[in-house]
């Protein structure tokens, strides 16, 4: 309560101050607010539980004050109590407070941040801190950051701090530097060249005092990465290599093996056509500011997934998650627009997208005949750089065709074939792998300006796991409002008693930067993944309210 009052007071004073400042042609206050609330009803058939509190609410609000080169802000967060399915072991996430506070000074060349901040070096292979509220991930740094533009095209960043761990900080100290040179901007003679080259390098070191009863562990763990980006006309090759010294941790079962990662993406594009080819190889690259941490806690880096991020409900049942202990992956994507005013293109053109991705294990061999792979306290295993093992983790093949037929009708048809290694990706043992075919038809019919009906028909066909699913959705939108009904039906469940309808109804109102949405219905148990991290979403039944506002 005291905190809320002090927050309100600070807010009001900020408001008054900025009103004053505004008159002096200066300061401004901006921010946002979001609240997610759920009322839980028990439903034993789908495994949904009720909670003692009846209702659980996650809320947060950001406030930032800016005047000239100076800005400062804070984030209020309240988990009263934390929604089910978010990381909250032993109630660690429940509470209310102001975990994020920062102040920043910046001018043309220099930016200094004190307090909390988020930062990424290169592709994030050795350093990425970010927040993803819908996953309950926030590994914000608390400390100092300096960004300096030495000269045009030459950028330097330095960070030091600890990472946020719920309402506290993790034990590890993180120090990092990153530099990038964009040669075409640095050397004026190349400014207009068709060939664009940039190179970057970073180094991150983590300090955590060694306190293990048996093993002698490194107090300091260093990681380095180098990247190169070459662009010539429509071609673009982006590559990064990272290396980390031995870092025994709970996640790699305390092995003393160094880690490596390589990421290459090559693309070509011109008007009407885009092609992407990418590969990734990762060996033992889990990197956290507490060697005992797990799941979404205290990650210093993030290995981007190679597969596509699925946007429809049924394909998202089996989401891919990066395996930092070792994986090889490859992808290919083609985007093509059949031109307007052709037989197949029609009046508006037709867009065809193809996606393919495949992920396998890396080849690991024993360090000695008598020592199993990844045995605690050993060098773990041997592996050649860029080795590829036999076991398939994941594969998806997608075709998607989007077409606007006329001013009224828009359709998006897609098909997907999926392989999902359930044991590896879900971290369980003995579950059968899933082979699925998924077909989706998404149709939007515009009745008049601002009034439209959207329907979705999705079918997932599989002999494994919970069998076949069908989903039908209808959504009516009128200016500022939308109304949705959908049924997600597990009609092919091998157990006839579990052929459940997950029926949902909802509506929402949007006005400017404000949005409010209310839904009632059942949600299936599953996994939700955003940006390389996943969380389990428990089955639920009940009423959900979502409010967001940007100001």
């Amino acid at each position: 309560m005291k905190k809320v009052i002090s927050l309100l007071l600070s807010l009001i004073s900020l408001g008054i101050f900025s009103l004053y400042a505004q008159e002096n042609n200066g300061g401004q206050v901006t921010g946002n607010f979001q609240s997610e609330a759920q009322y839980y009803i028990e439903d034993s058939q789908i495994g949904a539980v009720a909670v003692d509190e009846n209702v659980l609410v996650n809320s947060w609000a950001n406030f930032a004050y800016t005047q000239g080169n100076f800005s400062a802000g804070f984030r209020y967060e309240g988990y009263m109590n934390s929604l089910l399915g978010y990381p909250n072991m032993g109630g660690i996430n429940n509470g209310i407070g102001i975990p994020i506070k920062w102040a920043m000074f910046s001018n043309d060349n220099l930016e200094i941040t004190v307090g909390n901040y988020y930062e990424q070096f290169g592709n994030g292979l050795i350093f990425r801190t970010y927040d993803e509220k819908m996953l309950g991930v926030d590994n914000a740094m608390m400390g100092f950051r300096v960004k300096y533009t030495i000269m045009s095209g030459v950028y330097l960043k330095g960070v030091i701090g600890k990472q946020r761990y719920y309402w506290d900080y993790g034990p590890g100290l993180i120090r990092g530097i990153d530099g990038e040179i964009q040669f075409n901007d640095m050397i004026k003679a190349f400014a207009e060249s068709d060939l664009r080259v940039s190179a970057g390098g970073s180094f991150v070191s983590k300090y955590q005092k060694e306190e293990h009863p048996i093993y002698i562990l490194p107090n300091n763990v260093g990681a380095g990465a180098g990247r190169l980006n070459i662009i010539y006309k429509g071609f673009n090759v982006n590559s990064e290599y990272a290396y980390k010294i031995n870092d025994p941790s709970a996640e790699n079962n305390y092995i003393y093996k160094p880690g490596q990662a390589l990421l290459i993406n090559a693309t070509y594009s011109q008007k009407g056509l885009g092609v992407v080819i990418g590969t990734k190889w990762v060996d033992n690259m889990s990197f956290r500011s507490d060697r005992n941490a797990n799941l979404t806690d205290l990650s210093i880096n993030l290995m981007p997934e190679i597969s596509r991020n699925h946007i429809y409900t049924l394909p998202a049942f089996y989401p891919y998650a990066s395996q930092p202990n070792g994986e090889w992956g490859a992808k290919a994507e083609v985007f093509y627009k059949i031109p307007k005013k052709t037989l197949l293109g029609g009046k508006y053109g037709t867009t065809i997208s193809l996606y393919y991705s495949r992920v396998q294990e890396i080849e690991k061999t024993r360090i000695a005949d008598s020592i199993p792979i990844s045995s605690k306290g050993t060098l773990g295993y041997n592996t050649d750089f860029f080795s590829i093992g036999d076991e398939l983790y994941y594969q998806d093949i997608n075709v998607e065709i989007s077409k606007k037929w006329n001013k009224k009708l828009y359709t998006n048809i897609s098909y997907m074939n999926l392989f999902y290694n359930y044991d590896v990706l879900m971290g369980v043992k003995g579950h059968e792998n899933v082979y699925a075919n998924i077909a989706i038809a998404d149709l939007t019919y515009k009745i008049s300006s601002g009034v439209a009906i959207k329907t979705e028909f999705q079918g997932m066909f599989t002999k494994q796991d919970k069998g076949n699913w069908g989903l039908g959705l209808i959504e009516l939108t009128i200016p500022k409002w939308f109304f949705t009904v959908f049924d997600n039906w597990n009609y092919g469940n091998p157990d006839a008693d579990d052929r459940v309808h997950y029926l949902n109804v909802g509506f929402g109102f949007v006005n400017g930067g404000n949005r409010i949405q209310l839904t009632y219905g059942k949600q299936r148990e599953g996994v939700m993944c955003i940006g390389g991290v996943c969380r389990n979403v428990p089955a639920s039944n009940g009423l959900a309210l979502s409010i967001s506002s940007t100001f």
Binding site: Q28, R196, L273, G531
Partner: protein, 167 residues
């Protein structure tokens, strides 16, 4: 809960009082060049529409496709410039250029791979669109995309281009 609403209301009051300027954040263009967000919203005193999107966000793609169909007409009538900010992270940021070029989108697209600009603009979810007037002030914003929203967006752009009040 009551307290939350208090905060919300205070916040909304703040909205009406202050016109926001676009914060200074470093993001990258599709050629990997670092650019400051202040410079991308310059348009010789004409309005700029800043649209946050992601390649995995269906309503975002619908919105930008709709903008693209109208862009030529809108620009001719009001001088508006559209810039699209991709919030795709390292998973899909390298696919943004092929994705965008294949669709033939005419507007400038930038990469905000760790959501620095998104955070600085207090965007909760994509799609989220801001209209910047000729003086660099954020004068209007909109979250979510509902079918036909682009018509309303254009009405606002026309008013802002003429220097008329929005309401």
């Amino acid at each position: 809960m009551k307290k939350l609403f208090l905060i919300l209301i205070t916040g909304i009051l703040c909205t009406t009082l202050f016109a926001q300027e676009v914060p200074s954040v470093q993001i990258k263009d599709l050629n990997g060049k670092t650019v400051n967000t202040k410079s991308i919203v310059e348009n010789d005193g004409k309005p700029v529409l800043v649209a946050f999107f992601a390649t995995w966000c269906k309503p975002c793609i619908k919105e930008l496709t709709a903008f693209n169909e109208e862009y030529e007409d809108w620009a001719e009538e009001t001088g508006v410039k559209i810039v699209a900010i991709s919030t795709d992270n390292a998973r899909s940021s390298s696919s943004v250029a092929p994705f965008v070029n294949a669709r033939g989108w005419e507007f400038d697209v930038y990469l905000d791979a760790n959501s620095d600009f998104k955070r600085a603009m207090n965007v909760a979810n994509v799609p989220h669109t801001f209209l910047i007037d000729g003086n660099g002030k954020v004068v209007w914003q909109h979250t979510t995309y509902l079918e036909g929203d682009e018509d309303h967006t254009f009405e606002i752009i026309k008013k802002v281009a003429k220097g008329q009040p929005i309401k």
